[in-house]
Amino acid sequence: MSKNDNITIEEVRHLALLTRINMSEEEIEQMRDEMSDILSSIEILSEVETDGIEPTGHSVDVHSVMREDISSDSIKLDEALANAPRQENSFIRVRAVLEE
């Protein structure tokens, strides 16, 4: 059991739902302890004065990159489907999205 309580079991359970990972209760408890420790180690950032500092998303200046609108070959249907776990008549087969 972690000494820190930066995050609750309920919050971890909610994160498991958001990330769509079907974790066991045991895993959720262990994840809570580990995440609490990691969040503690991150807390030192509050020491840094950041008023008026612009955030950096990328370390190089990147802007939207445009290319000419010229059509070109892409991968073929059978190549695109080759890795699909379930397929039917050249389509990827999925489970029902709309439930009754």
């Binding site: 580990e34 370390s59 190089v60």
Partner: protein, 487 residues
């Protein structure tokens, strides 16, 4: 033909053998395939060995050589980390999620090296999705350090570093998000280089943290590192962050002299937690730089101390978005559990991802969730700005910075797996270069109790030539890179 000794063979040495017809590409390739068979049961650095492809490519390379239409890498056997796409060859990321995934296209780096005539021996093991510092997070196998089989090779590019150290390939490529090329290079006594962010296209590299990921060479010496980078650097419009610049020949201008070269030694990288033997080795190495004519000046980068915390917000945040694509529908592992679409999705991700990957996805989702976004993610991005500016300022005074690559030498397999925070500290000296987007290199600078120590150089953005010059001069004055793992 005399017996071919491939132990520690460099690209340049192999090139001479091939050009002078002392060995054919086919014989050279077969020698590496034999070597893989003899040491792989101990090292486990390969996820897959592509012997048939290698022999076919070797025949083509021999034709190119006999026709005199070859380049510097034609006929040179290599490995690629298994998160770089290879058309028709499984690319697993050492994850159950992609264990049977066969890419329909080549990564940019794969294309470039294939076109250059390099020969693919196989794919290198890694921590699952490149998340880790010991390669123990691989869902497929544990790689052992060729210097001591009880120790880890470092990570996440542990397979590539161990393969080069064990002479199972002439060179390999790694990817580096927080130190994943340099830290394993340090622990395995080889040369690992992370280029400036944007210098090498990430097209076909399975994404982990897109603003930090960068591909680079793992080689036996600095000259080889420069040769490989010259082949893989360059603009690629399929990566929107690829820099559109003229790529120089990095092999030019390597001289064994540092007269007038300014080397900064930041005190924060000799902090508590560093092994005293490592510190002594690195300080001895800095004396060698001084003997070569460099001006050595102690300096300070106070915000480097916050880089690890910044990393453990930004990298998981980006990872949580990048890894949302693994849904078991289009490709990859897919659970056949009974129930709804949601049951299938949640079980696919539960069974397909290992513990460290789940940890980072959840941590990133937490940092990006409403209520915490400003406190964690935006705060980390602001501190990133400060760290980046601090480096920029340092490189107004210095050509390079010198420091250790990792705080310790290789540790025991299983020694740190129970404590994620302890494991993360392995990358404390390498992460700042990723946060700032600058190039860095690790070279061997000592051996402690039979295990290699790494000396790291960092340079300003796109100053790779300075980096290679410092590292090359150091290797010319020392013998550490000639000492090989006894395997």
């Amino acid at each position: 033909m005399p017996t071919l000794d491939i132990k520690g063979l460099t690209i340049n040495a192999a090139r001479r053998l091939l050009d002078e017809k002392e060995v054919s590409a086919l014989e050279l390739t077969q020698a590496y395939l034999d070597r893989i068979v003899s040491v792989e049961e101990d090292v486990h650095s390969f996820v897959s060995v592509t012997a048939d492809i290698a022999l076919e490519q070797a025949n083509i390379a021999d034709r190119m050589i006999s026709e005199g239409v070859h380049g510097h890498l034609t006929g040179i056997p290599m490995q690629l980390k298994d998160n770089m796409s290879t058309k028709g060859v499984p690319t697993t990321c050492s994850s159950k999620m992609l264990e049977h995934f066969i890419p329909p296209y080549d990564a940019y780096v794969t294309e470039k090296l294939k076109d250059a005539g390099a020969i693919l021996l196989g794919k290198g093991n890694l921590d699952e999705f490149a998340m880790g510092s010991s390669t123990e997070n691989s869902a497929l196998k544990v790689t052992h350090n060729p210097w001591d089989l009880e120790k880890v090779p470092g990570g996440s590019s542990g397979g590539p570093a161990a393969a080069v150290a064990a002479s199972e390939c002439v060179f390999s490529l790694g990817s580096d998000t927080g130190g994943s090329i340099r830290q394993p290079a340090s622990l395995c006594g080889v040369v690992g280089m992370k280029p400036t962010y944007g210098l090498v296209s990430r097209f076909g590299l399975v994404a982990f943290a897109s603003s930090l990921d960068q591909i680079g060479p793992i080689t036996s010496d600095v000259e080889d590192s420069a040769v490989v980078l010259s082949h893989i650097a360059g603009h690629d419009q399929r990566d929107s962050t690829s820099l559109n610049i003229d790529v120089p020949d990095y092999s030019e201008g390597l001289v064994a002299d540092l007269t007038g070269f300014k080397v900064g030694v930041p005190v924060e990288y000799f902090s508590e937690g560093i092994d005293s033997g490592v510190e002594n080795s690195v300080r001895d190495a800095i004396k060698v730089l001084s003997d070569l004519g460099a001006d050595i000046v102690e300096t300070s980068l106070p915000h480097s101390a916050y880089a690890l915390a910044v990393y453990y917000i930004i990298a998981p945040s980006e990872a949580s978005a990048n890894l949302s694509r693994y849904d078991g529908v289009k490709y990859g592992y897919s659970s056949d559990v009974a129930g709804s679409m949601w049951d299938a999705l949640e079980n696919t991700r539960q069974n397909g991802f290992g513990p460290e990957v789940k940890r980072r996805i959840m941590l990133g989702t937490y940092a990006l969730s409403s209520g915490y976004y400003d406190a964690y993610y935006v705060k980390a991005q602001k501190v990133r700005t400060i760290i980046r500016n601090e480096f920029k300022e340092a490189f107004e005074s210095f050509d390079v910075l010198a420091m250790p690559t990792a705080p310790t030498t290789a540790f025991d397999i299983g020694g740190k797996t129970g404590d994620p925070v302890q494991m993360y500290l392995n990358d404390i000296f390498t992460i700042p270069a990723n946060i700032a987007g600058i190039p860095a290199i690790s070279v061997s600078c000592g051996i402690l109790d039979g295990l290699p120590v790494g000396l790291q150089f960092m340079a300003g953005a796109l100053q790779e030539k300075k980096l290679f010059r410092a590292a090359y001069a150091y290797q010319q004055a020392t013998n550490w890179h000639h000492i090989k793992a006894n395997i």
